[in-house]
């Protein structure tokens, strides 16, 4: 039924848009907490963001506690 009903619904009846949105949330959240070294703020503040590393410092303790590589 669901196969013929909509193009954007997978064979499990799961909307593809939901999967894509969650995949983006997964990747973005993982990057923010686990790997950002100033990259995100550098889009606004330029090279200074790599020195300040606000997001890195804010997520620093969780980064260590969750097992991500850090200094």
């Amino acid at each position: 039924m669901s196969q013929s009903r909509q193009i954007n619904v997978s064979k499990n009846g799961v909307p593809v848009i939901a999967i894509v949105a969650l995949a983006i949330l997964f990747a973005a959240g993982l990057f923010v907490v686990g790997f950002d070294q100033g990259h995100i703020f550098s889009l606004v503040y330029g090279e200074d963001a790599f020195q300040d590393m606000y997001i890195h410092e804010l997520t620093h303790d969780m980064r260590h506690a969750a097992g991500f590589p850090c200094h």
Binding site: I19, L22, F35, M62, H71
Partner: protein, 242 residues
């Protein structure tokens, strides 16, 4: 499938489990972090890079307040992130997950994901407190860690697909995954950094870290499963109309 309800369950359960994770870290992990950063400061004083002055202490205290305040916030973000991955896998595999209720199904999946994308990678690349990691190797360590997690996770999915085809000999797929991850475990290079920090501090930190991450996965399974069980987003027609 009720799309918005599904996404609401994923985000709210991920955020709630992440806040539990961050709050537990404040109690169980922060003491080790404070101790490790204290050692880091002693190294700075010994090398002459910094002086142990009231100004330094005031700046350090502000810095630590900022970092500690991020525990719960970062817990929420990481919780939503990992919860999103969990939600994707759950919704695509729900029909074949064991368990009569969605709570049991969610707990089974949380256990599988905990094992394959957290605990096995943790055994190869265990968490380290500050002072252990060399800033020069952080990119390499990040690549190694993510690669191992990806290989373990995709390996688990691949062997799960294989188990579906092996109707009577599913155990072969388990053995296959064990052999696959065993080879990856041996072949991949270890953490390049040498540990000069007291091992009792490192071991205590690792134990507490593993405990709180495990608490996250358990919380996620229970909260996600309970919400799914209650709202039943997979039903096209509300239960009251049946």
């Amino acid at each position: 499938m009720k799309t918005f309800l599904f996404i609401f369950i994923v985000i709210s359960s991920g955020a709630a489990a992440g806040i539990i994770h961050g709050s537990a870290n404040l109690v169980f992990v922060e003491p080790s972090l404070d101790q490790a950063i204290g050692i880091e400061n002693q190294h700075l004083f010994a090398s002459g890079e910094e002086k142990d002055t009231p100004e330094f202490r005031a700046q350090y205290d502000d810095y630590r307040i900022w970092q500690k305040s991020g525990q719960v916030f970062a817990g929420g973000i990481l919780g939503i992130s990992m919860g999103s991955l969990f939600g994707i896998v759950f919704v695509l595999s729900r029909n074949s997950l064991p368990g009569k209720t969605d709570i049991k199904k969610a707990l089974v999946l949380a256990g599988v994901m905990w094992l394959t994308i957290y605990f096995i990678p943790f055994l190869k690349y265990p968490a380290n407190p500050p002072t252990v990691g060399d800033p020069e190797t952080v990119v390499l360590r990040g690549i190694l860690y993510l690669t191992f997690i990806a290989l373990s996770g995709f390996g688990a999915v691949g062997f799960y697909k294989l188990s579906q085809k092996l109707k009577t000999k599913k155990f072969i797929a388990f053995i296959g995954y064990a052999a696959f991850i065993g080879i990856i475990f041996v072949v991949m290079p270890g953490n390049p950094d040498k540990i000069n920090t007291p091992m009792d501090l490192v071991d205590h930190f690792r134990t507490m870290s593993a405990f709180t991450v495990s608490l996250y996965w358990l919380s996620l399974g229970i909260i996600f499963g309970s919400l799914w069980n209650y709202y039943k987003p997979h039903r096209e027609i509300p239960p009251s109309f049946n």
